[in-house]
Assembly symmetry: D2
Homo-oligomer: 337 residues x 4
């Protein structure tokens, strides 16, 4: 599922061009046959590309985008980095490694500097840069401006996540039709740990994790794409609805200033209607569809901010977020090797 969004976003990309696709069971087949039945038509030239083995020997490219399952990523990504490739990955395998940046380009562009230390540490010519779990992104983006201006002590979040987040075949229809499953293996821990790293400060080449206390409950609901999150943020300062709406809707950062190709004009779109955002209607929000997080249902009492956020788990939460990170890396000269 994520791979299809990579192809959609990279096809016609001003800076990147797809040179190779790799796989496992589908090696040797045309891409269109490898994914058939599960998706609308891919672009013609991509459709005809032969799927290669996931092996640096077989790949000729300047950048590698990885959306491998965790175990496969743990094995393959270091081989590519060692072979000199810059690897941009939305896989979970290396996110929490001490010398691997975990990037949301609007929040922690400076963390990219860590790749130099990583290369030295590991003796690699290339490097691995990761992006967070899809659920983390929809939480941490609205947290960033609130934390900067108001301070954030504690975050309590309940998520309602779409089935595409579990990949294909993922969740059985028998399990989810007309149902809510209040558990997603490993997800809560990821959201809780990744948030602190992304919001952390780079000190002497190392990240000091932010001490925000995150309590998450992750549920699966019968929606296709788009993770909704109901969030209570306990801020350090007292605040009010107008202030919060202003901080969120005015929020822009380096990717916007640089006008990176995949950067949406507004990372956060504030909805003031009482019943938005809605998963199906707002999932593609943004000047780059699916790259903005929609935030609504703002209710503020004292230092308790309640909000509902919605983000596209396959775009901002995966393919799009990783491509935006690679664009930022290119701006910093990290793709010039």
């Amino acid at each position: 599922m994520v791979g299809q969004h990579y192809i959609k976003l990279l096809n016609n990309h001003p800076w990147f061009r797809i040179k190779a696709l790799t796989g496992k069971e589908s090696v040797g087949r045309k891409y269109v046959e490898a994914v058939r039945g599960e998706a609308p038509e891919p672009p013609k030239d991509i459709a005809e590309m032969e799927v290669l083995p996931t092996d640096p020997k077989h790949v000729d490219a300047d950048v590698v985008f990885s959306c491998l399952p965790t175990e496969a990523a743990r094995e393959a990504e270091p081989r590519f980095a060692e072979a000199g490739f810059p690897v941009f990955s939305d896989a979970a395998a290396f996110r929490m490694e001490e010398d691997v940046p975990l990037m949301v380009p609007e929040i922690n562009p400076d963390h990219l500097q860590m790749v130099e230390r990583q290369k030295r540490n590991r003796g690699w010519d290339g490097y691995i840069v990761t992006t967070p779990n899809c659920t983390t992104v929809g939480l941490v983006l609205p947290l960033h401006p609130l934390r900067r201006e108001l301070g954030v002590k504690r975050v309590i979040a309940t998520t309602m996540q779409a089935v595409s987040g579990a990949g294909y075949p993922g969740v059985a229809s028998l399990s989810i039709l007309g149902n809510v499953i209040p558990y997603i293996s490993g997800e809560e821990r990821k959201v809780e740990n990744e948030t602190g790293k992304i919001l952390g400060r780079l000190v002497d080449g190392r990240i000091v994790h932010d001490d925000v206390d995150v309590l998450a409950t992750c549920t699966r609901v019968p929606t296709l794409d788009g993770h909704m999150e109901s969030v209570v943020v306990e801020t350090e300062k007292q605040t009010d609805k107008e202030t919060v709406a202003h901080l969120l809707s005015e929020y822009v950062s380096l990717p916007q200033e640089l006008a990176l190709p995949t950067a949406p004009r507004r990372p956060i779109i504030v909805r003031l209607e009482e019943d938005r955002p809605q998963t199906r209607i707002d999932v593609d929000a943004g000047s780059v569809p699916g790259m903005s997080v929609s935030v609504g249902r703002l209710r503020v009492v004292g230092n308790k901010v309640r909000l509902v956020s919605l983000s596209h788990n396959l775009i901002r939460g995966a393919a799009g977020g990783t491509i935006l990170t690679a664009e930022l890396a290119k701006h910093f000269g990290l793709l010039d090797g």
Copy 2:
């Protein structure tokens, strides 16, 4: 929808017998025709009953159960109470009135004493007793044993509510298929206010509301029956998972001691599997199906208790809860007028 559950629960009830059904547009038609197309067959003798006007003049009965819409309840229920009927209502109209009990029989059986003051106040021969919003019930039942033993300072809840909670026709299929709508009109305020009243103490015939601080976010999801709630409870004492599981699973109260016909053996069923309760699978839990609240996903850190509760919005949250309340009233001699 609720009416059908009243009929199912009252048919073959050991204490009550259905003597009359009332309606509005359907007056004069047989019950089976009034509901046709929307439900499995009603019992034969009920099916043939003629729908009467909602008017005390036309009704011959000892007890009235009301599941009227709020506005209709506000007009009709006092006329029945004035005419001498004990009215047991799951409508919202009178829940927060100062002299009207808001009942969860396991929690506040003593609140029923208020009907005497209500009768005097209003000069009625009958009285109105209410039961809470369907979402409040799934929250307040697990809160009760925790509050008694651990103290409860604050509750943060996100609900995932089924479409049957909105009645028929209720939510348009175009609005909810593959979607989550993070807003239900008036619901959050109800949950927040009703909780304090139900947990309140009766002092000199008046209820002193409990000062628990409840912050709710209510969402609609594409499920049929069953409201799920993801809850964080901040307790006064430090605690742990075993203590909480024990308090919840051992919880019984007066309806269980009296073995009232509609009382489940366990008001709260604790699930220890990591992925339960689930809406579709657990909605009918309980020795009286749909009368128990299922609670799972217990995670405790210090004084923060995280849990997920599931309750049947039409049974424990409406028809069943109200019938159980009438059973309690009968035990107290309040139906002997």
Copy 3:
């Protein structure tokens, strides 16, 4: 729902420009407020347009597109036609009137000639042109080339229709979640009667209905957009799968030859995979999205052709089909009045 697709298709249309929007309850409000909550953002300039009464006195335009409910159409459309407007309508009110064309531009472009007789008959300066029921379109388009080359004696169809076909609020979520409803009021009769008129021959200014025998069963399924139809066509000649696939995939007609703006390059897209078309994946098929009918599951034995067709009920089956008809009328000089 249909109105939103009119706006999407007419916005940036090379020949037409939206000059006015009319309504009923929403008169006097901005369009964006009239539809709020139910749709993604409309284009800015349309969003700000004031909704006018559905009355020829208030409307200044060269063409009127109508997607009124049947009863409202029966009343309003003649008033517009009488006032000199060419009215292009997907409403059911006048489809079967003897002097009103019922158009599928690829099939019966010559039927547009009837408007002259209609104007004379009724003494109108304008006229009414209709397009068929959304379900008829997905059936009659693949029938056309088969009938021309092979003859068609009988058609047996079962439809699986999306909820958007019932408008908003339309089908209650309680009725359709996890359900199939094998009945849509009036639908089968429409499909059966309209097919004969569309395939009919114009003889002396009158349509001689085709005598094809159509037996339809129409069901509602929990999909959002896109009507699927499982069809058995009994042809006069024996045939085979290759012939049928060729006839359907090579089918083009006058709108394609004229390259009308809303004409898809292929009215029928033949899918040879064993499990296509699928409602959610293929609903937007076509060079003009939603204007092509996807046909697959071809199985031919003797003179029995089995196929599955899928068409977008709001685009080819409503807004798009009607706009394409107006484009054809413009080509014939019928908009020059």
Copy 4:
């Protein structure tokens, strides 16, 4: 999924008692652990049973019920039959074998006689008796009385099948949410071939297949349980709606006359409302829930009968149909070995 219905129906069965459960990956675990997460609680004593290997050496029982996947059935069922077990199977592996009965107890009770020839042929002490594909049952049951009284030349059917028909995990939620998939591997051929065998005559110990011509199109829709079928039956005699309704609703057969424990009082329930049967509402129809086929939408013109049938794919279409067959076998003395 089917296994759970076997347990529900056999638990408290007057004639049969569950003595052993067998499996594959789950061998050695308790039953409750083998199915956990996917179903409501099994009965206590069943829950604690240890899952045994699917091997005659490990099983001590008088009858074997098999709901194995096709390939596993092809291997295991003969081993049980050879070892002397009567095997009643809803698996597809042996249905079309020349000496294996394919049973719908109301239609072809005499076919059970074939087991004697089967035992001789194969030199087995036991035997295999099969029941049809879940989709065949909902078609062939209403065909039986029509064929007897009116003759049936041709049947054209489109099915709308629930996801539980594909087992667990079966259909991916990503594939079916908001979608219709007009293809189920192998299903159409099964429906077409099995119908002729079930309706066939036993001549000299062999079945002469009925020559009814069946054309089926099988689709998957997002429903949980219950296969709906839209059917056109071309009868030999002209008929009318009243005759058809009478033939179907009065239909009873040997299982009803013998009052077998799992036989519903009415094998076919005729619904005269215009919008029934509906999948979710009518799936459990019958005095033995899920054992009756609901038939509605009767429309008759000349010799064309249109109807919609609904049957529970896991009960009448699997576990229940097979248990009813075993009950019939017991009546015939075929379990006395």
